[in-house]
Amino acid sequence: MNIIGLLAQLFAIALALFLAPLLTGWVNQCRAWLQSRTAPPLLQPYYMLHKLFNKDVVLAHGASSLFRFAPFIVFGCMVLACAIVPTLSTDLPFAPAADTIALVGVFGLARIFIALAAMDVGTSFGSLGGRREMLIGFLAEPALLMVIFTTALISQSTSVATIVETLAQREFAIYPSLAFAGVAFTFVSFAENARVPVDNPATHLELTMIHEAMILEYSGRHLALLEWAASLKLYAYSCLGLALFFPWGIPNGDSFPALLAAIPLLVFKLAIGGSLLAIIETVNAKMRIFRAPEYLGTAFLLAVLGLLVRLLLETRV
Amino acid sequence: MDFFILMLGFPLVSGLLLTVFGERAWAPNLNIVASLGTFLASALLTVEIVAYGPRFAFGEMFFIDSLNVFFVSLTAFVGLTTSIFSSPYMKNEQEHGRLSIPRLRLYKSMFQLFMFTMLSALTTNNLGVLWVAMEAATLTTVLLVSLYRTPASLEAAWKYFILCGVGIAQALFGTILLYFAAERVLGETGNALLWTHLVEVKGQLEPTIMALSFIFLLVGYGTKVGLAPLHNWLPDAHAEGPTPVSAVLSGLLLNVALYAILRCKVLADGAIPGGFAGNLMMGFGLFTLVTAAFFLSRQKDIKRMFAYSSIEHMGIVTFAFGMGGAVANFAGLLHMTMHSLTKSAIFFAVGHATQKTGTQLMEDIRGLIKINPVIGWGLMLGTLAILGMPPFGVFASEFMILTHAMKYHPWATPILLTALGVAFAAIFGKVQPMVFGETHAKPLPHAPAITPVFVHLSIVLMIGLYIPPYLTRWFHEAARMLG
């Protein structure tokens, strides 16, 4: 491991930390425009993080140490996830560790801790949110894995870096399987990131909320970390989606000029992705929580179909 | 004059004419005259084919050899007798208020068009057109099954349409696979579905594809034959449709579907070594026979019971053709003929019986011999014939099939015998009290046409006692074609 590589990796992480709240802000802004509201400033998430970090933490009486550690663990998991998803380059020091199954595991770890912490205090809202989060996760993870297997079949490897390299450097060809996987991935991302058809990120007190219900007891820097982690998760998913389905333009070197050149492209792709996300969120209504299994079932089905189509149409040629 | 064109032309033209003029008073007579014309043309065609050998018509579109001309003459004959039978029968139905005049028109035109589709299915040389004609035969009969518009008849017709639709779709997939296999040998010409071309290259067809194709074709056309477990539509359609329709469905449509399977079997046998197609047919045949035999005893409706009897006999015939070889094929063809004649005779008798007593429930039909001795004896003799009693022709064919099975497939003999025994007990036990017993029914407004019943039965009897050498030669020729 050379020092340049390490620096490049650190740079990528720093960029993730910086861009993630910005992406959330951009999505919120787009949503506001689409709904004919006056948009909050683009930097609103930063203001909020700043405000929350400066506030004192109020802990519930029954809170255990798990409740206090959970935000750090979740935040750590998300930073790790952002570090191993190739955003700027496929040849970073963390790349060998960047196995897709491990990535799903990292997300799963974060989910378990946030759900446990939500139940820790013992409020009804917290445990309700925690249980729903586990339900969604239990259905979303297989679908996500199927999506990843489809891409892994194409590149004959489960390493994210290898997948992205294969996909980015192949000649142009239409992969029906990737189309299926892409749609399935979109479905899963919406569920995982508590976006509209499954959860509503804008509301704070509603009986059907999931993510907000879990973090209701948090305050101060803990809440800041969790909010930041949520932004990072959205960022990680967006980058994963971009890397798997629109990988063009990700260099595989670790030289700084190449890295720097990749930034504008990444920002551009994220901006497009964010506005698309806002559009989809606006045109859809939130569905009943009991419809979520069917929704995620569809995602799973699509991913499996992608896998099958891949095996049938694209292997023996 | 080309008899072939006449044979196809009569039903087509009269069917179209009856669509327009079907409500006129002379329409039933036109129906009979057209059927007579079809029959005469097919009889003359038969003489021509037996004398001069196979021939084509319309280029290579149609092909007539001694195998299908046999089915053609059988179809035309039963069509003729059915039209004679249906003339007073349908008038009685009209008097009873079960049918209106427009529905009678529908019946007559559809009957002729149905004859047309079956005759084209039998004579076409193109296996794709065979499929099209088979599907068209379903379409023409589906409205006939629901002719009474009662809930039960609609249900029966719906089931018939959906199940046969599904079945026929499987057959189309089989046909596509067959075309695929043929195209590899014959090239991308339009000839790759022509049977005469296929049979020349049958040894070169890819066995894997042919095996799969034959499975699909057997299941698909088998649905129409009434092979278990896809036979569910058959009893319903027979029981709820008008009796002449039951007679032609049982006596003819099942034969035509089986004919389609036979044509495909010849190709499959050529392509696949080891008797794959035959074994498959034997298995299906036995299973059908056993299923039908055990369902027979549970029937309450007389037409349903005889529909199950048709399934049973189709099972026997499928088994016979599955065994293959000159004797078994001969017996299969003979049995098919005997079954067609006997079963349609039974349905004619049953039609009159139900009309007289006003019910199809067997426990309510009693003492037919007192209401009308002719019908009573007709039903009794028909039942004895279909149960394989000597000296009727069914006995001869069943006997041949049984002895052949004992010789080459002894394991099947106990199954065959048990099933036949069960069927015998079930049918005879139910028909006997219907014929002999007490009753108080009134006579019908229109005298029933009894002649067809006895014409059929006397032919069956004659063949049981003595098969003319002309017929033997012809059957042997047809059996030889089946390999």
């Binding site: 000649e171 060809a173 239409i174 029906p176 189309a179 299926f180 299994p293 069917e294 079932g297 089905l301 179909l305 099958l308 189509v309 095996l311 049938l312 149409l313 694209e314 023996r316 040629v317 | 794709g128 057109v129 499929w131 099209v132 599907e135 068209a136 379409l139 589906v142 409205l143 629901s146 518009r149 009662t150 809930p151 609609l154 249900e155 029966a156 719906w158 089931k159 349409f161 959906i162 639709g165 599904v166 779709a169 189309l172 997939f173 046909t175 596509i176 075309y179 590899r184 991308e188 579905l193 890819e206 894997t208 799969l212 009893p235 319903d236 709820e240 369902f295 549970r298 029937q299 309450k300």
Partner: protein, 221 residues
């Protein structure tokens, strides 16, 4: 991978869309969207056939494509739309079938179909050989739809979708059947649909609904 010509990729893409639409139909509860999905399937089928015709210079396939477009994408959906409006069954919603279970069974069928079709498509040398599995899968999914639905119109849509699958099979294995056969099949489908239309009215007259569950009287005691 580069051996796949571009047109084959397009055809594969279309075939995948047809499969996707077959699944969407399997999962659709309402009548009108179901008919629309069927129309889209016909449209995609016609486009895919046209691409095959263009690539392989099989001129009769243009006719098939046109026939498909006319019949399956326009005429039949139009007839069905009219029927639904005339019979006023627009709000007929399937309630009792477990869609997710059906979907899982459907995935199983797709796997079976792909395996059955694999040895055959390996023998084929057409540009479309890969799609034979998809065609068989579409047939099987339509079949599944027919047996799981309780309303008459979805059953019929299933029946017609099965025909779509068979058509795709014919195109993918052999570049279509001879023209006379294809015309005959199209005619049969059309007449069948019309007869079914007549049938719907008869059923409604008798049962006051198009629910097939009313029609379970005929059984062997």
């Amino acid at each position: 991978m580069s051996a796949v010509p571009f047109s084959a990729q397009i055809i594969n893409l279309f075939a995948s869309v047809i499969l996707l639409l077959a699944f969407a139909m399997l999962g659709q509860r309402r009548v009108m969207p179901l008919i629309n999905l069927f129309a889209y399937q016909g449209l995609v089928l016609a486009m895919s056939t046209a691409v095959v015709a263009f690539t392989t210079h099989q001129h009769h396939l243009y006719w098939s494509a046109g026939l498909t477009l006319l019949l399956k994408a326009l005429l039949l959906p139009w007839i069905l739309h009219r029927l639904v409006r005339r019979l006023n069954v627009k709000w007929d919603v399937e309630s009792l079938i477990a869609i997710p279970t059906t979907m899982l069974v459907g995935v199983g069928l797709v796997i079976v179909a792909f395996n059955v079709a694999l040895p055959i498509s390996q023998l084929s040398n057409t540009i479309t050989r890969g799609t034979l599995g998809i065609a068989l899968a579409t047939v099987m999914l339509a079949f599944l739809m027919m047996i799981t639905r309780t309303k008459a119109i979805p059953q019929v849509v299933g029946f017609l979708a099965m025909e779509n699958g068979l058509f795709l099979a014919a195109t993918s294995a052999t570049y279509g059947m001879p023209m006379v056969v294809e015309l005959g099949i199209a005619l049969d489908v059309l007449v069948g649909a019309i007869i079914l239309g007549v049938f719907f009215f008869q059923i409604r007259e008798q049962f006051d609904s198009l629910d097939i569950r009313n029609m379970e009287k005929l059984k062997d005691s």
